[in-house]
Structure formats: structure tokens, C-alpha cells
């Protein structure tokens, strides 16, 4: 390890690091861009889904005969219209209830009809005989031995001896090293606290939407808003029992995802309806359906204990984190546990995570899944501990910060990382020393995310006029087409404007993993650079042919083929455009490709500084100043890097202060709309200042790290720390909504 030079391949850039206009920009400011719900097909039907009004109910029977008989209804589907042997049984069960409805909003049947109103009337005619069962929606309640059990096949994994009774605890994870008890005995000060966080939703403004056009033989097309159209293709093929090759999926423009569009909900349903009706079917979720039946985050409860010496050295740290992940196993308790102490170098550490099922919609990823909740509780204790020791909270963090060559809390040693750099920038930032007004407090927090690589396939064609068409297979959720164009242009030595990127459909490129894990600028970027290099090799061959010299004697510099040296001969350099223009006579089209399961992703760290003001009479919190400092490795398109920083911070502010899933006694979601699920509006937020730190990731030719997810990890704790400082009392439960803050203030009096 660590034996590589500490610099990336390329350090001087022509276009990478500039912020040109995005290729999809004009379409998006003129209304031309086509999103999930914007597509139509001749003969299209409207699909609608009937959803369970019960949190937990056995489905005794479903009678669809009246709906089928209604004029204008072309198909009705239930669980029987899907492939019972599908690979992922949980996804199968989630998209259409089987023996039980497991949450309020769980799909139980669907119709395709000639109009909205006919489809609505048809849903009302479907008769479902439910046997209502006791339900549980709270994570701590679900873990109790006498809780209603959702699945009789879940026996807690990761505990010995293996349980003999089914429970709602799907998995227990444990990570760590050293001797925690010994470590606590060496501590001068120990802080231990319990925390809770509410479930939140990604809150993308575009509801899930798709248009399926499947022939009776099972072949066809699907248009949808998704973070991964290859994933949609493979999953739908499996759920419908058809060959992958029969289905072509095109990713529409996507109106926000943030992790919530990394799985399927309505796509297989639309496909099943279309196959049955023999006509195209469009399904668009209402906002109510998005909240009740897509994939929000886990709610959590946790206990954190950290001990430190008076000099600020952390001697031991322990976390126990419970993640409620909805009706199926898979809550990111493992990721939360691994991330919880990742910012610190610890001799003795133990983190435990529990993956718990409840009668709620199955959680889906949301920007650094699992990490924000863990960071909230850990960084709250870190801030409090620094205060008890009497150390500046940033100094305390620097003293214990993750560094190159040190063992991480989750195991492996860190490679080149930028946490200390973000902390030093924070300490020096004018925000950190600015005076505070009355009822205001300042808080700091760090955050960590792994960042991923993964499977990527990219293709790049040199056009006859010297422009370049770039096809990537990872949906663009934050401006990645611009970043890809920048990297291709950089490598080819041409202008940004000469490259145009598109998101190709599933039949046009090899498999691409989902746009997730902050992987696209890193992995698709790496594949784009390699595809450009592949095409450069071919461009050089063509130049060699034109000069009648050996291809080895041609080099590519500044967008031109040049003779490698005096021995190669004397030739005027040939531009990319010149070589492209004579492609037909030199061997035909010129293209570059690259396929890879990209490794070498670089972990990312951030430090956020927040000022909040608390109204002591009402408990209302207003964030008054916000600064994000994050290591991007190399910022390919700095304006979009800033945009990711700001967007993550804003979502974190919502999570910290007002957003929450509220369930009633009946197990039904009380606030399935933007009126009462309160995401920040423009007047709620201050400007969000940013500082991009660039500590290169050596696993990428340009040093790129992912940036999309880390930005949501620090805000919860940073805001909790600032609110706690302003209110004079430690807030340990999210959201810090006015009633909760006021209660804490009053109880502290």
C-alpha cells in the first residue's frame, strides 16, 4: 500500500476545474427537457395502484372482477401477475403485496384504463378482504420480544447462538478493535448519551414516473426516471420472468433522486399492466404515494459513549445503533456502524448496528445511507466531550482526526485523506471566529463517506467535424454530463464545447451500476478518460497511416497528433478535426470504449460550521449562517461541486429541524405531503458558503473523489451542536422541531 507517489497522474488542467454551462441546460430552462412523466406513446393507458390503508394486515382475498368489468379498464394485475421465483423476493413483495400488506401504502393491485377517471373508479371497485393485524412502527418497540412480528422467516443473524424464534431484528453487525473497557478505564472524562432520529424522505420534487410498452411476448421498452436504468431493466426482467435482452430501458431526465431512485417501485407494475393490456401504460405516483410507498430513510435510536484524556486523546469509543428499515431487512445499520467513528483514529473502538424491520415502507438509500444518523449522535458527543475537557472543538477533532496510514475505526488503514485539511480550513475560516448575536449558538461537525466505484461502460465517438459524442450509462442527477464532457475534452486536448454527452439506453452500452455512492464523476469519469485514451490510440494510428510511419512514432499533445521526435519524421501536427475529416479513407469511424469495474474510489471527509438562532419562547430554530468545507479530491466542475455541498447541507438542515415521518396510533402516515412534511423553503435558509479542499485521490487519474453524499453527513450534528449551544441544553432527538426544543429549554430552567 502507501508506496505510490502522493500525486495523481495529471495535475495541470486546461478545462477540468472550470465551470462551463451544462449540455442539458437550455432544455432545462425552456421546459423542453423530458422527465419521467413527460413521455407519451400512441394508445397509451393510465395505470393506477391500489394501496393498503392498513399498516399490517393479512390479505384473505382480492376480488378484481368488478374492476375488470368496468368499461375502459384494459388490465388489472395483482401479485399473481409477477414471477414468483424472482431473484429478489423482498423487492417482489415490496412492489406488490403477497400474503400480507406490510405497511400503509403497500401496493395490493393495479389497473390500466383509458383515462384517469376510469382508472380511479376501477380502483374503488377492487374488493380486498383484509384481516387487520397488530402493527409496530417504532424501532425500539419493534425490537422488544413481545412486538408484533412481521416475518416468520427472519431469525436475527450475527448473534450466537442462532435464535430459535423469529423476530424483527434481521441482523446484528459489530465492528471495531482494541479493548474498549480498558480504554474507558484510561479516560479522564466520559460522555455517554442516547439519541433518536426520525425517518426522513429524500424529497425529490419529481414523483416516480414511468411509461412501459411491453408486447404480449414480453419484449418492449420502458421509459422512467431512475438513478440506474440497467438496474431497472435487470430487476423488471426478473420480476416479470422475461429475458434481460427483451427489455430496453431509457432513463429520462431525473427530477432528483438522492438515493431514492436506486430501486424499483412502479416500473415492474407498469410493465406487468402493459404486458397484460397489450398497450403502453404510464404510471405516475402522486406525492401522497411517494411519501407512503417509496423508500424513506431509517429512523434510529442510538447510544454513544466516548472517553478521553484531559489532553484530548480519545481513549475509547462505543456506539450502539438501531436502524428501523421498514417492512424488509436491509436498513443501513452496517454502514452506519462503520461510518460512526470513521473520522477518528481510535485505539479502542466498538460499534454495533441492528437492522430492524417495522410496518413502514422499505427504506431506500438517501445520500450516504446510514451515515448522517450515526454522525449526528457521535459528533454530538464529541462536541460535548471537547467542551468538558475545555478544548476547542476543532482542536479536539484535529488531535484525533483520521490521517493517512492510520487504522480506521472500521478496519483498514487510510490512504491519502483530507479530514485534517478541512478542519484546518474551518479553524481559519472567518465564520468560525465571527461574533454571535443573542440566542445564537455555533456548532461544528465532521463527516465521512466511503465513496464507491463499480461497473461502468462508456463509449466515445469522434464525429466527422471533429466534435465528440460521449455515451455514458449512469443517469445524470447533478450535472455529471458536464463533468464527463470536461474530462473527455481534457484528455483529448480539445474544447469543452466540442464534446456532447448523453445518457445511453440499456441496449447501447454494457452494464452500468446505478448512479449512487458518489461514484459517477469518479467511475464514469475514469471510464470516460480511458475511453478517450482508447480513441487517442486510434487517432494516432490514423495519423501514422496518413504519414506512413509507425503508430509508435506518433504522440498526442494538445489535441494534435505529432511525430514522437526527430527520428519519426517531419510532419505538421494533425488536429483531431483533421484526422476525423479523413476517417473514411483511413479506416472508417473512430471511437473509443472502456469497460471497467472501477476500483480506487477515495474516501471523503467534510467539516461544517453552523450558526443557529433559537427563539427561547417558542423553540423555533433559524439557521443564520452555514459553511461547508469538503475534500473533493479534484473539483472537475467547481460550480456543481459547490452545488452538491449546498444541496447536502440544505437537506441536512431539513432533517435536523423539521422533517419527519409522523405515524398515528393506527400505523398510518399522518403527513404524506409537502404541506406537513416540511422540507426547507427558500426563506428558511441562509446563503450556504462553501470551500472546496483538494487532497487528490490517487485512485483516479485526475485525483477525483466523489462529492455528492458526504455533504449530508455533518449537518445533523453541526446543527444540533449549534442549537444546543444557543438553547443552553443538549438536544438529542431529531428533528429539533419547536415543541421539542421548547420542552428541552423549559425542562432545563
Amino acid at each position: 500500500m502507501l508506496d505510490k507517489p502522493n500525486k495523481p497522474e495529471k495535475q495541470k488542467f486546461n478545462v477540468v476545474g472550470t465551470s462551463p454551462l451544462r449540455p442539458d441546460g437550455v432544455d432545462k430552462v425552456t421546459g423542453r427537457a423530458r422527465f419521467g412523466a413527460d413521455m407519451v406513446a400512441p394508445g397509451m393507458l393510465v395505470g393506477k395502484i391500489l394501496r393498503s390503508p392498513h399498516a399490517h394486515a393479512r390479505i384473505r382475498s382480492i376480488d378484481v372482477s368488478k374492476a375488470e368489468a368496468l368499461s375502459g379498464v384494459k388490465a388489472v394485475v395483482t401479485k399473481d401477475d409477477f414471477n414468483a421465483d424472482a431473484e429478489d423476493q423482498d423487492v417482489l413483495y415490496n412492489i406488490m403485496a403477497r400474503e400480507k400488506a406490510l405497511y400503509d401504502g403497500h401496493a395490493v393491485a393495479a389497473v390500466a384504463a383509458i383515462s384517469q377517471s376510469v382508472a380511479r373508479r376501477a380502483l374503488a371497485l377492487i374488493e380486498v378482504d383484509y384481516e387487520v393485524l397488530p402493527h409496530v412502527t417504532d424501532v425500539d418497540e419493534a425490537m422488544k420480544p413481545d412486538a408484533p412480528v412481521l416475518h416468520d422467516h427472519i431469525f436475527t443473524e450475527g448473534v450466537e447462538p442462532k435464535p430459535t424464534k423469529p423476530s424483527n431484528i434481521a441482523q446484528r453487525y459489530e465492528f471495531g478493535h482494541g479493548d474498549v473497557e480498558e480504554g474507558f478505564s484510561e479516560a479522564d472524562v466520559i460522555v455517554e448519551r442516547n439519541f433518536k432520529t426520525a425517518a426522513t424522505h429524500q424529497g425529490y420534487i419529481e414523483p416516480h414516473a414511468c411509461l412501459a410498452n411491453i408486447a404480449n411476448d414480453g419484449s418492449g421498452e420502458l421509459w422512467c426516471c431512475t438513478q440506474g436504468h440497467y438496474m431497472v431493466r435487470n430487476t423488471c426482467a426478473s420480476l416479470l420472468g422475461i429475458d434481460v435482452s427483451r427489455l430496453r430501458v431509457t432513463a429520462s431526465e431525473i427530477g432528483g433522486g438522492f438515493g431514492g431512485k436506486t430501486t424499483v417501485f412502479i416500473e415492474p407494475v407498469a410493465a406487468a399492466l402493459s404486458r397484460k393490456a397489450g398497450r403502453p401504460v404510464k404510471v405516475v405516483m402522486s406525492r401522497n404515494e411517494v411519501f407512503r410507498a417509496s423508500g424513506p430513510t431509517s429512523s434510529t435510536s442510538s447510544r454513544i459513549k466516548i472517553g478521553a484524556k484531559k489532553d484530548g486523546t480519545i481513549t475509547a469509543a462505543e456506539s450502539e445503533l438501531n436502524y428501523q428499515g421498514g417492512a424488509f431487512a436491509g436498513a443501513p445499520a452496517d454502514l452506519g456502524a462503520m461510518c460512526s467513528f470513521a473520522c477518528y483514529v481510535l485505539k479502542n473502538v466498538r460499534t454495533i448496528g441492528y437492522d430492524v424491520v417495522t410496518n413502514r415502507p422499505k427504506q431506500a438509500a438517501y445520500r450516504a445511507p446510514g451515515a448522517p444518523m450515526a454522525a449526528f449522535s457521535v459528533e454530538s458527543v464529541v462536541e460535548e466531550l471537547a467542551g468538558k475537557i475545555g478544548m476547542d472543538p476543532i482542536e479536539f477533532r484535529i488531535k484525533n482526526a483520521a490521517r493517512e496510514g492510520e487504522k480506521s475505526s472500521y478496519g483498514p488503514k487510510f490512504r491519502q485523506v483530507g479530514l485534517v485539511e478541512t478542519l484546518e480550513e474551518a479553524k481559519a475560516h472567518p465564520h468560525y471566529s465571527a461574533p454571535l448575536g443573542p440566542n445564537q449558538g455555533r456548532g461544528v461537525s465532521c463527516g465521512f463517506w466511503f465513496n464507491f466505484g463499480g461497473q461502468t461502460s462508456t463509449s466515445l465517438s469522434i464525429n466527422i467535424d471533429g466534435t465528440v459524442a460521449l455515451a455514458v450509462g449512469t443517469p445524470d442527477i447533478g450535472g455529471s454530463r458536464a463533468s464527463m464532457c470536461l474530462m473527455a475534452a481534457e484528455e483529448l486536448g480539445i474544447g469543452y464545447e466540442q464534446v456532447r454527452a448523453i445518457i445511453a439506453d440499456t441496449s447501447s452500452l454494457g452494464y452500468n451500476d446505478v448512479t449512487d455512492g458518489s461514484r459517477v464523476t469518479f467511475a464514469s469519469g475514469k471510464a470516460t478518460i480511458m475511453a478517450a485514451r482508447d480513441s487517442i490510440g486510434k487517432l494516432c494510428e490514423r495519423a501514422a497511416k496518413m504519414w506512413d510511419i509507425s503508430p509508435d512514432a506518433v504522440v498526442w499533445e494538445e489535441g494534435h497528433a505529432k511525430p514522437a521526435g526527430a527520428n519519426a519524421g517531419e510532419f505538421e501536427p494533425l488536429s483531431l478535426a483533421e484526422i476525423a475529416a479523413s476517417a473514411e479513407s483511413t479506416g472508417g469511424p473512430i471511437a473509443g470504449h472502456h469497460e471497467v469495474n472501477a476500483s480506487g474510489a477515495g474516501t471523503s471527509f467534510a467539516t461544517h460550521i453552523v450558526d443557529s438562532e433559537v427563539d427561547p419562547e417558542t423553540g423555533r430554530v433559524q439557521v443564520t449562517r452555514y459553511t461547508v468545507i469538503q475534500d473533493a479530491g479534484k473539483a472537475v466542475h467547481p460550480a456543481y461541486v459547490e452545488g452538491q455541498f449546498q444541496g447536502g447541507a440544505a437537506q441536512g438542515i431539513g432533517w435536523a429541524i423539521n422533517e419527519e415521518y409522523i405515524y398515528g396510533e393506527d400505523g398510518r402516515l399522518q403527513n404524506a405531503g409537502f404541506l406537513d412534511y416540511r422540507i426547507p423553503v427558500a426563506s428558511d435558509l441562509p446563503m450556504i458558503d462553501t470551500k472546496i479542499v483538494e487532497v487528490p485521490n490517487l485512485g483516479h487519474p485526475y485525483g477525483v473523489r466523489g462529492v455528492g453524499e458526504t455533504s449530508i453527513v455533518p449537518p445533523l450534528a453541526a446543527i444540533a451542536n449549534s442549537v444546543s449551544a444557543a438553547a443552553g441544553v443538549r438536544l438529542t432527538e431529531l428533528p429539533m422541531s419547536p415543541p421539542r426544543v421548547l420542552k428541552a429549554i423549559d425542562e432545563n430552567k
Binding site: A33, F35, E206, G255, G256, G478, F674, S683, M687
Partner: protein
């Protein structure tokens, strides 16, 4: 269900359509007229993605019945640019990277255009409150606010 015949003006064009009485103006624009620039984010007036101008007033088209548009004038995002010349707000949004996914962008642009026509010199706070009904989940609003302030300054100077 019986349909209502409506004659109206959309982006300056005389338009006629038939709609069901419970269809919204947004449904009509998107599904009947193919004007899909206005988006449905909530269907309840809480997100602003369907913003259009109705007789010179900024409204959510999801809260207007299609039948109500009789003899009215509707302006949508499709009518904002003048041929191939973008409106200054559209250009500034691109320059400032004031959009990420772009789903809220048509609504935000319609709303800010209405603001600047009413108040050419708004403060940051005025812009933020005016846009409180236009949810954006990607940007944290920072670059949107900057783009609006910058456009306003430019348009005042012009």
C-alpha cells in the same frame, strides 16, 4: 363524463380544447396540449413546479380548473424565451449553475420573472419569501438566489 369546451390564449396563441370538469389547468397543459414544461410535484399547491401566469397573476396550475381558463391568458415556460433568445433569467440560471436536476426550474423561472416585473430591485429576503412556494431539493437555493439578484441588477442596468 361530459366535457367543457374552452377557448383561451396560451403564450399568445388562441387555443381551444375540451376538458373534463375535474381536470386541472396543469392536466390540460401537460396531457392535452403537450406543454410539459410545467411539472406536477405535489398536486396541492405546495411545491410550485406547475407555476404559470394566469391573466398576469402567478398561480399554481394544479390549483386551477381547466374549465376556468375560458377567455383568460396563460403564460407558461414554453413562452418565456423569445425565439432563440433566452430570457435574461434563463441565461443567468445557466451561468450561475442555479439548477441541478432541473425539475423545479420552469416553475422557479416563471415565479422569478413575475417577481422582477413587479419589483425590479428586490432584496435577498424578498426574493426568498417570493420563492417560498417553489421547492427546490437540489441546490439549497443559494445559486438560485444569486442568479435572480444578478439578473435583477443586469436588467435594471439595461
Amino acid at each position: 363524463m361530459h366535457q367543457v369546451h374552452v377557448s383561451t390564449k396560451i403564450n399568445g396563441d388562441e387555443i381551444e380544447y375540451l376538458c373534463e370538469t375535474d381536470e386541472t389547468l396543469l392536466d390540460v397543459l401537460r396531457d392535452k396540449l403537450g406543454l410539459t414544461g410545467a411539472k406536477e410535484g405535489c398536486g396541492s399547491g405546495d411545491c410550485g413546479a406547475c407555476s404559470v401566469m394566469l391573466d398576469g397573476r402567478l398561480v399554481c396550475s394544479c390549483l386551477v380548473l381547466g374549465a376556468e381558463a375560458q377567455d383568460r391568458e396563460v403564460e407558461t415556460i414554453e413562452g418565456m424565451a423569445d425565439g432563440e433568445n433566452l430570457h435574461p433569467l434563463q441565461s443567468k440560471f445557466l451561468e450561475h449553475a442555479a439548477l441541478q436536476c432541473g425539475i423545479c426550474t420552469p416553475g422557479v423561472l416563471i415565479a422569478t420573472k413575475a417577481l422582477l416585473e413587479k419589483n425590479p430591485d428586490p432584496t435577498e429576503t424578498e426574493v426568498r419569501y417570493w420563492l417560498a412556494g417553489n421547492l427546490c431539493r437540489c441546490t439549497g437555493y443559494d445559486k438560485i438566489i444569486r442568479a435572480v439578484m444578478d439578473t435583477a441588477a443586469d436588467m435594471r442596468g439595461a
